[in-house]
């Protein structure tokens, strides 16, 4: 990853955190808040290298944990697992496709929710969270897919792929 790509990534991450924590909650109710950090992670999984991407995916998850819930390490673990799985198949598919990007974000959202749910049920005392998570499953998945489709429409998307 070159300097410019690293700066772009850092900017995107900071912007995503600020948007997700301070801006989007004002305009969207909880299930319709897009998970921008997950979208960045999926992008890294499809276009980045394993050496750079894996620790970055873990860090992105960690950053998400810092700004959500009580359990530090929950999303970092989930992000890392999803990154590894996507990376495993990314070399066999046409990773440059925008459709594939949107589809992968949707699948990654479903996987992240499922993984989080399993971890929470196994390791925490919050049985009631099942209903909260499952009730917001479909809206959250669709919101993320929609946000990913908007990201894919960005003018610099294909150029950024080359940079990454």
């Amino acid at each position: 990853m070159n300097k410019r790509a690293a700066l772009l990534l850092a900017g995107a991450v900071v912007l995503s955190v600020v948007l997700q924590a301070a801006v989007l909650p004002v305009f969207f109710t909880p299930p319709f808040k897009p998970d921008l950090l997950l979208i960045i992670m999926v992008y890294l999984a499809l276009h980045g290298s394993v050496e750079n991407g894996a620790p970055l995916a873990w860090l992105l998850g960690l950053l998400k944990d810092v700004f959500s819930g009580l359990y530090l390490g929950l999303n970092s673990f989930t992000f890392l697992i999803i990154f590894i799985v996507i990376k495993g198949i990314a070399n066999r598919v046409y990773a440059e496709s925008s459709f594939l990007f949107v589809f992968t974000v949707a699948v990654a959202t479903a996987a992240a929710i499922t993984c989080n749910l399993l971890l929470l049920l196994m390791f925490t005392q919050t049985p009631g969270i099942i209903y909260s998570i499952t009730s917001g499953f479909i809206p959250h998945l669709l919101t993320n897919a929609f946000a990913a489709s908007l990201v894919a429409l960005l003018p610099g998307f294909s150029r950024a792929q080359e940079v990454a």
Partner: protein, 273 residues
């Protein structure tokens, strides 16, 4: 004849002038009445005067309008700016008024709480959809510690969970991991208020025999030492007693509107060391 030829013009001019003078002097006594010449002229011109006057009026309006339009754009821009400025002042005024009302109520709450409190602003919310936390703009540098209670003008908000030097995270009472010892204000029935989905809470561990009705107000019981006794938590919106089981199912709507919270008070007491 020679004389007439020589002075004819002067004689004619003098005659005409004399006739004109005579005409003038003869009309002086009747200067308030129209004579046949006046009447005739007015009659002839009347049908023409009206449309011409209208047309010229139209052109006058157009001209005046055009002349006026020369500066209209600048004036328009200036007025628009003034409107913007005035609107901004109105909005700012309304904001100040609302902030004043909120802060006045918060101050009332502050005065009602015995231990020292610290006012903080909400600067962020949880980035996920299923956890319920928020970020405030005060941290350990202001004396905040994990475990301290957070309240708003209408009642309990939650508890401080993670503290950084300049910010802290508040676990809201609607989060599934939250638990607050509570009492029904009317019957003194006890239980633990836990977070539920859709911004609601549930009161758990309240036995079937306890007297709980829809509309009852819930306050903190003070047990556990995090929250001082008597802070409003919410209102009972549903009570369900099944045929079996030891406890009843009670749903609570929090007193505080957590979706639109802007300022909170951190009670500077207790907390984890």
């Amino acid at each position: 004849m020679e004389l007439l030829k020589k002075y004819g013009f002067f004689l004619l001019a003098g005659g005409v002038a004399f006739v004109a003078l005579l005409f003038f002097t003869l009309n002086i006594p009747n200067n308030r009445e129209a004579n046949f010449i006046e009447r005739g002229a007015l009659m002839v011109f009347a049908p023409v005067m009206k449309p011409v006057a209208r047309t010229s009026g139209f052109f006058e309006d157009v001209w005046d309008g055009y002349i006026s339009l020369v500066n209209v754009r600048q004036e328009n821009v200036k007025l628009r700016d003034e409107i913007k400025s005035l609107n901004a002042r109105v909005v700012t005024g309304n904001e100040f008024q609302q902030a004043n009302q909120r802060l006045t109520r918060l101050l009332d709450m502050k005065n009602a709480i015995e231990p020292p409190t610290l006012a903080a602003s909400v600067v962020g919310e949880d980035v996920t959809s299923w956890f319920r936390t928020m970020i405030i703009d005060r941290g350990s540098a202001s004396g905040i510690r994990e475990g301290m209670a957070v309240v708003a003008a209408d009642g309990v908000v939650g508890q401080i969970v993670k503290v950084a030097p300049s910010t802290a995270r508040v676990l809201l009472l609607t989060d599934h991991a939250s638990g607050i010892a509570a009492t029904i204000e009317r019957s003194r029935a006890r239980g633990v208020v836990k977070g539920k989905d859709a911004g609601l809470c549930s009161m758990e561990f309240t036995t079937r025999e306890e007297d709980v009705k829809v509309g009852d107000m819930l306050v903190t019981s003070g047990i556990g030492g995090v929250f001082i006794k008597g802070l409003p938590i919410g209102e009972v919106t549903m009570v369900k007693r099944g045929e079996y089981g030891i406890f009843q199912t009670i749903t609570i709507r929090p007193s505080v509107n957590l979706d639109h919270l802007e300022e909170v008070l951190v009670v500077l007491r207790g907390g984890y060391e």
